[in-house]
Subunit: 311 residues, 2 copies
């Protein structure tokens, strides 16, 4: 098993291997994780003799520009009791690569965002092009695992909802339309705002994570533990998620699939929803067994929204 | 004004300029539109002497791998009367670059997708890095305009909804949570399935589109006109959309912002929602004045969903 990182060192983007002693060995031949994954090569072949202390690198998201980032919604069995009606398959949204920040980089929050909180998640890094793959075969397409803090703006979420009369064709009467009362909501803003995707610090290669469906996850905010959970409480297993998604959209090398929030509260705190960054300071630390700990400070930017309406 | 295309010709990805006579002049120096846009160079400097007939190229999406594709929801004033409650700003979702297909490439629909229909839209191609830009300045960040057929799976949309008790921190009593009945829906599947993003055929550079807020849009399916509309009926103007988005997420060169569906029905047909590709054959043609016509056939793939549950 290797722990692979994307780092900036000496004003250059490099790949590195995080060693048990905390040092990073730089890789030759590839500067982009996506290129390394696409090559199908064994990363250990490219380890150089250059070792640098972890404190001297600038941590980037392990994949700097994933083709897509799919995130499964409401996959924690702890939320099942709160569901009145729900799909019987994984439902998911996308985060843009522009929202990603690496380990140690700040989550920046502006007053006009409203409430913003962390969501600790196991994220899969796709290794091979994956389309129409059965769940039993899905593990063979995984390059490795990393940590996603799926930062979420609940204040914006409450704003970006529509309650309206949707139109559907009437199957019984061609040419007629049915009106159906419907609620829709849109996630691109509350899930995709800049710095709302903390990713890293490393990718643990798949050979080191024999059972991704049984990993302990903890989340601390400002030093206090607010979630103690495990991926074994996900409704859908990692292989099921990957297989389901692949029946609809092709997953490509370097794509990220984040498997849902591990939010079971610890004894001390009742919920991640209390960790509103507008009032609760950071840093946010997400730890997943076998991968590591992703740490991000929180910064408030006292900036008002700009003039987006034309006169 | 130039009409720029990404094409495959002679087993190589090339950029080209579509001429008024229908021929394509190939560009030297750049094979990727995103690289050309990032360079800030005038494309006309790189026109080669090689001209090929349009029928001999394989049309790719003009930007093959945009960093992100933001799409504004419910931006047509024709839908305002159906809204019971709605945001007072643009709400948007993301499409993944993996769903894009170019001009003439098929939209592939499987029986298990349920109802699927076209949505004709004006799409902006971002020219310069754009963050916190006021609406008055937004036009200066536009590289050009293209056509998006934002193919939508209404059947999947109806499946990917949650009705549940959401948790919010109680502002009055720290440590307590409020339960709020809420509806959420997730768009990644119904908007992002493979081939659900038809883009092209060309990018009309911004100098050729002096007023993007007054462009006629028509959509034909199987030869029949199903929508005759104009971008002047958008609730939010192009500059307002770009400015609003830029207050939350950085827009980068080559990013796509699709401005909402132009769906006012023609006299003959009542709605785009009748153009369900499960029963209505293609091709789908979307025309926007000053840009061109995007044509995509429809193919039904008789494939059942794979075994995505583990035993």
């Amino acid at each position: 098993m290797m722990k692979l990182a994307s780092v900036r060192y000496g004003s250059r983007d490099r790949l590195g291997v995080l060693k048990d002693d905390g040092a990073i060995t730089l890789l030759d031949a590839f500067d982009s994780m996506r290129d390394l994954i696409r090559s199908g090569e064994d990363p250990s072949r490219f380890e150089s003799r250059t070792t640098v202390p972890a404190c001297e690198v600038d941590w980037r998201p392990p994949i700097r520009h994933p083709g897509k980032i799919c995130c499964v919604a409401m996959n924690n069995s702890a939320s099942n009791a709160r569901k009145i009606s729900a799909p019987d398959h994984p439902a998911y949204f996308l985060k843009p690569s522009s929202c990603l920040v690496g380990h140690r980089h700040p989550i920046r929050v502006r007053p006009y965002y409203g409430s913003v909180h962390p969501e600790p998640e196991l994220a899969v890094v796709i290794g091979r092009r994956m389309k129409d793959v059965d769940a039993a075969d899905a593990p063979g397409y995984v390059f490795g695992y990393t940590i996603m803090n799926d930062v979420t703006g609940n204040g914006m979420r409450a704003e970006d909802m529509f309650h309206y009369w949707a139109l559907y064709a009437n199957p019984a009467r061609p040419g007629e339309l049915l009106r159906r009362e419907q609620h829709l909501s849109y996630a691109a803003r509350y899930k995709g705002t800049d710095t709302f995707g903390c990713l890293g610090p490393v990718i643990a290669t798949a050979d080191g994570i024999p059972d991704p469906d049984d990993l302990d996850v903890t989340c601390r905010v400002g030093g206090e533990t607010i979630a103690e959970d495990s991926t074994r409480y996900y409704n859908y297993k990692v292989a099921e998620i990957l297989s389901f998604l692949s029946q609809f959209q092709t997953l490509e090398p370097g794509d990220i699939v984040s498997c849902g929030t591990a939010f079971r509260p610890s004894e001390k705190r009742t919920s991640i929803h209390h960790a509103n960054f507008q009032s609760v300071g950071g840093p946010v630390e997400v730890t997943i067994a076998g991968i590591g700990t992703l740490v991000n400070p929180v910064e408030i930017e006292e900036r008002p929204i700009g003039k987006w309406r034309l006169p």
